[in-house]
Structure formats: structure tokens, C-alpha cells
């Protein structure tokens, strides 16, 4: 078992990573105040892990809310279902919400916890690789709006994050690949050694080698924890974590939430960011090719949907949270392992990237 810490003064919290943590109350109960616990999960995850989770919560007043599965349900209406349950069961300010599932369950549950009675405790039990290496750490919570992804939300840190690597055994290949996109992201933005490690170990990761997966999760969480500790509210450095996300959000919104998985869209988006960085004279042709090859090795898409032409991209990117005064701010790469934020790139190069990907689309 490994334990990392997200250092945020009085809001600091541990990330425990290990096998079989879900049924172990040792790591869960110290973070529950009061007796009332609401476990939020979805129709896919609950049949697999809800009983085990509840077995670690004996002695508490446990209620459950089971959501439909999918990004298309990451809406204010779904959050309302959680509020209804909390109030029907008369949950008070000392209650704890537990998110058992992937990134969508975590984001929705965290946002409900941020808003219920102006903020109650919550705990993340991420069951997908993407949630384990990215969305469960750092306190970003929220839901989508028809006009933009994650447009409604709050910063609300969990009490702890419990990562049971056994849950990856039941994850389908597509979801595993989506998680690997965010793992690759850490290599691209700040850790060239980790990128090289991933090039060597991608096959092992896809075969779910426990040692390799644990290492990738730990390294990813440490990277995320460091960045969040340095910049909790995304005043600067934290924005680097959005590499590929502005392109990716446009694909998700343009295709309809849930059609492309978030990690798939981010995978293609990172390649677009690398392509633009290459056109801007930074990333070398060899690095661009290494990026493409690693994404392909992870079984991630490296082409965009045909429906996404350049106009549609620009329109959808214009409502991204990274927009300031109408200019689309992008995370770009100097080289593998070094990213930066810019709103001062040549827009013609962006257009070339969009056109090139549309031309190659299928």
C-alpha cells in the first residue's frame, strides 16, 4: 500500500493506493464525521463494488443513490437527484458523501457535496483508471451545460482518495485506454522520463500488469498532487493539466456527451496540441511521431470524427473555460516533458492543425 499526500494546509488529504482497499474500513472511517453516509455510484459500478463498500461502513446510517452511467448524465438534473435523497433522509451538515465510480460519478458527487448546506465532507473511491490518476485528485467538481463542459462547478477537496487497484480488473479496454490518456499527459507536460517509461511499459499496462499499473497510478497521482498543491485554484501552473482538453472538450460537446469518452477526446486533443506545437516550431517531428505512437500503443484515437470540421472546432473551443477576452488559450508543448500556456500563438497555425486533422478524419 502506498500513501501520498495532497498538501493544501488545513485541506490536506491522503491518497491511498493498494489492492483490496474498498472493503477495508481502516482507511475509510477516520475520514467520516458524523454517522450519515450517502454512497453515490452508477448502474455499472454498483453491482460490482457497492456491497464491498457498504461492508466497510457498518455502524453508519448508509443511504445510496445509483445514477445512470455516462457523461450525458453529468448534468444539474442529476445533481438534483442527490439533493433530493439527502433531504429526504434528513442528512445534516456533518454527513459524508462517497463517490464510488469513475470521473463522472466523482465530479457530480463532489459538486453535490460542495453545494449541500454550503459544503459537506466527501470521499473519492475511484474505480476507473481515469478517475484514479486524474479526476479524483485535486478538488475540481462540476457538471456540464449543453453549451459547454464543466461550466458549472466548484473547487471542493475530498477528505481522502482511496484507490483500490483491484477495480481495474473489471474495467473494459476502452475505459482503460481512456485512463491511459491522462497518464500519458503527465509525461508530456512535465516528465520526459515517465514518458519514456510509458513507451517501454505500455504493453504491460494494457495487459493490466499490477506492478506497472500501480507505478503509473502512483507517478500520476504524485504529479497531480504536486501541481494542485502549488496552484489549487488554477491561477497558473495547474492550467498545464488541461493539455489536449480544449480540443478534447470540443470533440465531446460536438459529438454529444458520452459518444467519445473524455479520455479518448483528450488523447486526440493532445496529439492536436503536439501537432500545433510542431507547426509553431517547438516540438520536433520525431517527438510528434513518438507522441502519436504512444497514443496508438495505448489504443487511443489519433484521428478526429469527420463531423468535426475546423469551423465547428473553433465555435466549440470559443466557450471553453480557458477563453479570455475571446482568445482561445491553449496548453502547448515546448518538447516532450515541457508544456506552457499561450494565447499568443499564430492563429493560422491553429487553423492548419484543425484543417489537417479534418482532412485525415474518417
Amino acid at each position: 500500500m502506498k500513501t501520498l499526500t495532497v498538501n493544501l494546509q488545513e485541506r490536506s488529504y491522503p491518497i491511498h493506493i493498494g489492492q483490496g482497499l474498498l472493503g477495508d474500513e481502516t482507511f475509510l472511517t477516520p475520514h467520516i464525521h458524523g454517522t450519515q453516509v450517502l454512497v453515490v455510484s452508477n448502474e455499472t459500478v454498483a453491482p460490482l463494488y457497492l456491497d464491498k463498500t457498504l461492508s466497510a461502513l457498518r455502524g453508519h446510517q448508509c443511504e445510496t443513490v445509483i445514477l445512470p452511467d455516462g457523461e450525458q448524465y453529468k448534468t444539474l438534473d442529476t445533481v438534483t437527484l442527490i439533493f433530493d435523497a439527502l433531504l429526504q433522509h434528513r442528512f445534516d451538515r456533518q454527513c459524508t458523501l462517497i463517490a464510488l465510480g469513475g470521473g463522472v460519478v466523482g465530479d457530480i458527487t463532489g459538486f453535490a457535496a460542495a453545494c449541500y448546506q454550503r459544503g459537506v465532507n466527501f470521499i473519492q473511491l475511484p474505480t476507473t483508471l481515469l478517475a484514479q490518476v486524474d479526476s479524483s485528485v485535486g478538488g475540481k467538481t462540476g457538471v456540464n451545460h449543453p453549451l459547454g463542459k464543466n461550466m458549472i462547478g466548484a473547487f471542493h477537496q475530498p477528505q481522502c482518495v482511496l484507490i483500490d487497484t483491484h477495480t481495474l480488473d473489471t474495467l473494459d479496454d476502452r475505459q482503460l485506454a481512456a485512463g491511459l490518456a491522462e497518464v500519458i499527459k503527465y509525461g508530456l507536460i512535465q516528465d520526459a522520463d515517465f514518458f519514456a517509461w510509458l513507451e517501454v511499459n505500455m504493453a504491460a499496462l494494457r495487459q493490466r500488469d499490477a506492478t506497472a499499473l500501480t507505478h503509473a497510478i502512483e507517478r500520476s497521482c504524485q504529479c497531480k498532487a504536486d501541481i494542485v498543491a502549488a496552484d489549487e485554484r488554477e491561477a497558473g501552473q495547474r492550467a498545464l493539466l488541461n493539455l489536449g482538453h480544449t480540443f478534447g472538450h470540443a470533440i465531446e460537446a460536438g459529438m454529444g456527451y458520452g459518444t467519445w469518452l473524455h479520455g479518448e477526446a483528450v488523447g486526440a486533443g493532445m496529439l492536436m496540441a503536439a501537432d500545433l506545437s510542431h507547426r509553431l516550431g517547438d516540438v520536433s517531428a520525431e517527438e510528434l511521431q513518438r507522441t502519436r505512437a504512444l497514443l496508438q500503443a495505448a489504443a487511443l484515437p489519433t484521428r478526429i470524427p469527420k463531423a468535426m470540421n475546423s469551423e465547428r472546432f473553433l465555435e466549440l473551443m470559443a466557450v471553453d473555460k480557458k477563453v479570455q477576452a475571446g482568445v482561445i488559450r491553449l496548453v502547448l508543448l515546448k518538447h516532450i516533458g515541457a508544456a506552457y500556456v499561450s494565447d499568443d500563438y499564430d492563429p493560422n497555425r491553429l487553423r492548419e492543425t484543425l484543417d489537417a486533422f479534418h482532412h485525415a478524419a474518417r
Copy 2:
């Protein structure tokens, strides 16, 4: 013009109190970052003060959302209207929301600002006495749920609060009285001298004497600012500001939001708290009578609706945010000018208070 400061380190902000501030850009524009401004108001206030407000915002991209007027619209659905407008106009993270109206407009707008893109700037332009002396200061934002008042919300401090006392000229008598309830509250919980001043000056306040109103607003805001600075997130002392609110929320919810004004319900609720405090052996019979007399002088209700019997009260009070582990925590009085929070009172005395008020109800 008077200026007070709410001291909250990097979230500190000024409260400006004066005549004719609404049309004056001097106090407004320094707190607007970026160029995009959304003014949220309601159907009652907008015809009176929207043009004047917009005249102080020349040079900005100003959009407006006009809500229906009333506590019954303080819902998540109404907040969604604001999100829709922000996204339709492609407002970015640097935008500013301005709440022009009473407490309902301020609470809804502040909550929208707290959640839009995980938090954007907002400014309070309170136009009712209640909003000026209470709800616009301190960063409590939120909306109601059918099962409880202010159950969904966030702490989100404004950039500044601009109180134009001229706006009280158009306030109807019932709304003025509702605001006076919160003014009286400050006297009851911590300022016996102010309570005595109110006993002398209540007639002047009801006649809208400008000097008396300005003094009452300033004293109230200073009291609120001090308490908020000492306890921003209501870990302790700030709870005293809820005097009368647990009883009052039950009346508001029980009668249907908007039937009783919030201040009216708090007025009756404070008398119930004083009555219970008297039964518990603290507040004297004379002090109880002074409290009743001051509320009556302010034209506030001192009786409860006949429909609110003791069972209904207890049921509705049980979902209040002040509940912990099933016990209803109440703000009670030692004497005029000294309040405390308790969950250790004799519940039989609470029952006596509820029964006595129900018996006297009409």
C-alpha cells in the same frame, strides 16, 4: 458616504453606504475585471433602477437577466436561467455578475457566480433594507429546495457591496418592516445599546428618516462584518446571526415560500426564541415584552399562522441546517444583547413555546 470593510484577508471587500451611489461608476468599475458584465435583477426592481445601474457601466459588454420577483423563484431552475445567459453570451472566467435587487436576487446571483466556471466575480447592489443590512454582506449564497430553505448553496464573497439608500424610497412598507427585523436582530444578539436606540428611533425609521436609516444600516453592517470576519464559514459565532431563523424558516417553508416574507418570519421567530429563553429562565418578562413591543413598533408579526401547529413546526425545523444528529440547535438569548447557541435546552420548554404561539395564532 460611509465605507466599512469586511476583513477576510485576500477576500476582503468594502461596503459603501450613501445616497445616489447606483449611478456612480467611481465605486463600481474598480471591482470589475474584464469587460463582460451580467446584471441580474427582477421584474420589480429593474424598471426602477436598471437604467441607472447600466449608466455606470458604459464601456462594458453589459447583458441582463430579469427574474420574476419572489422567494418562490429562489430555486435551481432560476439559477439555470443565469447559466444559460452566461453561456449564450460566451462569458468567460473574468466576467462579473452584479446582483441588483433584494435578498433573493443577491442569493441567486451569488450562487450562480460561485458555480459558473467554478467561481467568477460578483458585486452586490442591494435595493431592500433586508439585503442592505444582512444578506448582501458575508458571502452566503444559495437557493431553496422544496424540503428546506437555503439547502443548496456556497460561501462566495462579493467584490464589493454598494448600498444606495435612495433605493429605500421606493420600498413598500411591508418590505421595510421585513428589513427592520434583521436590524432588530443585531440589537438582540449583541448590542443592547443599539436595541435601546431602536426603541427610541423606530418611528423615525418607519417614516424613512434618512439619517436614522443610514445609522441603522451602518451599525447593522458593522455588526455583520465583524462577525463574518471572525467566523467566515460559521464554525461558531456566526451562527448567532441565525436568531429566529430556525423558527422563521419553518414558517416560510410551511406556508409556502413567498407567502411570508423572510424578515416577517424571522421577526416572529425571534419572539419565539425570546419566549423560549424566558421559559428557560434567562430573558426576563420585561425584556420579553420589550422585544414584542419593538417588533410591533416595526410593524412585524408577533403571532404565527394558525396552520402552523407544534408538530408541523418540529417536522420542518428538523431539516434546518442547524440540526446535528437529529437535535435542533437553536440560537437563544441570555438577555437583550447576549445570544448563545444551544442543543442542550429542555425540549419540553420548546414544546410549550410552540403550543403557546399556536394557541395565540390567528
